[in-house]
Point group: C2
Chain length 205, copies 2
């Protein structure tokens, strides 16, 4: 049994273990920095860190696939031999943080002055609007790769821009920094995006 | 643009549409009943109904798969030619209902007097414990197929039984009805499990 309960000795064990792991990661981070690490990898590492430290339970959803053919070889695992990628009907990440439902997608751009809305599909916008209607927390993490800046951009603002621009064109960088919350510099995790979510929550309350 | 906002004319349109759809489904339900419909299908239909009626945003997660080989034929969609099923690290369903994070798995048994714990993997129990520690709502929907009875069984009770029985043996039917919440009879959706979740919420408050 290895259930990590929120309190008691098990938790202390988990935290002690994690401190050791932090040490390692910090060293690696200092040596190699974030060079070449994609936004998705950074978010996955942050989610692993949040889970190990009992800060949040947030997972990336598996890639949706339509399976057409499966082989069942004797004495081996089932092998999928024909399948196709399917368009996702929701966002990529969701979970729970301090009792709140969190739902988001992550997008990266090399642009420095604006974020192209073509990075979104309408069904993602619709999904975020549905999440808001159930009092969930929805946003996008937008990373300006050339500037090395990442922002939490609330779904409310995104939906407003989407309607104004009708899904075309771009959101100006200035609009994103005006309504977004910058993810602060951090070593472990390298993208500590819940810090920006905390600031967003403060504004909500 | 077809965003279904929670209030206003769009919502009324969506509800009107859904009433028509309800009519059809009800007729079908009366004719064919739930014969042969698996628990997963029933949950998916319920989730579609909840989404269309702005009652909740709950989705089944895609099946996790490890992709090994992909072909990119000219002028056609990418084709996955080698992939394997991966064990899920979480439960199958999650989402948001009235601002609360909901997370659950669904299990069916033909047994009439008990529910075998071998239906669960330890990582699912660990995941549900993590969800509880973030104040999320976790449970399993257990269907006794031979009795045609389904229950919401809270994660707290499941974890307690798992520890007591150490992942082996079975939970007695009497224990499940004592701590679970029966999903009431319904035509559309055929498994209106949020009704049982409502009762569970009443007990929590």
């Amino acid at each position: 049994m290895a259930i990590n309960y929120p309190a008691g000795t098990r938790r202390r064990t988990a935290q002690a273990k994690n401190t050791m792991r932090m040490g390692k990661t910090t060293k690696k981070a200092l040596t190699f920095g974030k060079r070449g690490m994609g936004l998705e990898d950074e978010i996955n590492l942050a989610n692993d860190y949040y889970l190990a430290n009992h800060l949040a339970v947030i997972h990336k959803k598996p890639t949706p696939i339509t399976i057409v053919k499966v082989d069942y070889p004797a004495r081996s695992a089932a092998k999928i031999t024909e399948a196709y990628f399917k368009q996702a009907s929701t966002t990529d990440y969701n979970g729970v943080y301090q009792g709140r439902y969190i739902d988001f997608d992550a997008k990266e751009t090399k642009n420095k002055t604006s974020f192209p809305l073509k990075n979104f599909h309408e069904h993602q916008i619709v999904h975020l609007a549905n999440v808001l209607s159930q009092n969930g927390v929805g946003f996008v993490i937008i990373k300006f790769a050339s500037l090395d800046e990442s922002y939490i951009y609330p779904a409310q603002a995104l939906i407003r821009q989407w309607e104004k621009l009708r899904g075309k064109q771009s959101i100006a960088y200035q609009d994103i920094i005006a309504e977004g919350y910058r993810v602060p510099e951090s070593l472990n995790p390298s993208l500590d995006y819940l810090k920006a979510v905390d600031q967003y929550f403060e504004n909500l309350n």
